[in-house]
């Protein structure tokens, strides 16, 4: 990877995994945004395009919610374990409460994701934005909200930063893909993930 001066300075500042947080509450302060080069590093290295059908994945999550299967969050397996095999990152994106409006505190993060997706290293890849929630509230509501929030992120990347819509898909998995099932209400479960899912386009 070729890095500019900025990149060299930024390296090593952030070690967090890349998942986009879908936090429901107001932050007291703007968080330190993940760096572009950290995002690039985490999303690189997909060896082969996985056999992934996003519409089917959406359906699978909906069916599990409707059938009330895996009712106990503590024992709920991830609905899409296959995503855990792919290059991905988790990052916090703040939204207005119970809405899909991205808060200004997260504009910089969105900009940095756009910067990463435009870098030559990632230019030929496609990505899936995965919205998630913690396990408080109603499962079906959470599923819908996380889809709307994932769509918002995708729309911002496409409309504001002109990332090709062909490279971006969005899915909401609500509380069906808990990051930390042992602590169903913890904020980390609200993170959105960006997953590398296609190469080369």
């Amino acid at each position: 990877m070729r890095l500019g001066k900025r990149g060299l300075r930024d390296i090593g500042l952030v070690a967090a995994a890349l998942t986009i947080f879908v936090a429901p509450t107001f932050p007291a302060h703007a968080q330190e945004a993940v760096t572009r080069d950290d995002i690039i590093k985490r999303l690189s290295g997909l060896e082969a395009t996985p056999d992934l059908n996003v519409a089917a994945l959406r359906q699978r999550a909906l069916e599990r919610v409707k059938s009330k299967a895996d009712a106990v969050p503590l024992k709920r397996p991830p609905i899409a374990a296959e995503l855990l095999e792919l290059p991905r990152f988790m990052v916090e994106v703040q939204f207005d409460p119970d809405a899909s409006t991205i808060r200004p505190e997260s504009y910089q993060t969105l900009g940095r994701i756009a910067d990463a997706l435009c870098h030559s290293t990632l230019l030929r890849y496609g990505f899936l934005i995965v919205g998630r929630t913690d396990a408080t509230g109603k499962r079906e509501y959470n599923l819908t909200l996380s889809q709307k929030r994932a769509d918002s992120i995708r729309d911002a990347l496409v409309n504001t930063f002109k990332i090709s819509s062909k490279r971006l898909q969005a899915v909401g998995l609500g509380e069906e893909q808990l990051q930390d099932a042992a602590r169903p209400a913890t904020a980390i479960n609200q993170q959105v993930q960006v997953v590398t899912v296609a190469k080369p386009l």
Binding site: G111, R112, R124
Partner: protein, 137 residues
Amino acid sequence: MVRSRSILLMLALAAPSLAWAETMSFGDAAAILAKSCGKDIDANCRGVNFDSSRLKDCLSRNQDVVSAQCKADYARSFDAIQKRIAARAAVPKTCERDIVKLCGGDRKEIAKAVECLLAASGVSAKCNQAIGDAGYR
């Protein structure tokens, strides 16, 4: 001797500027918008998502009430984002000759061409600058 030294000096001065992007990163441009206009967006553009044209419309509609800081910065931020997008769109044309000469290339497959140009030596200054401005580097 004097001449060669002055040539070296010229090269030293010129080399870094070739790599300096004249555009701002999306992250920095978005950070300016959030910092200068975050409160104004909350107060006047509630529910407007992070969509540059809708946000810009909302802020300009509310010119009379937004803070001086926001008024001074929002157009600059959106312009910076636009400039970066335009820089990306300009690469195939600006680098056309380099792509043909160095990468045997099809400029329609821009991702491949950019990878090749970044690895190639002898890329023109103009093309090199365009690649940096686009944020490919």
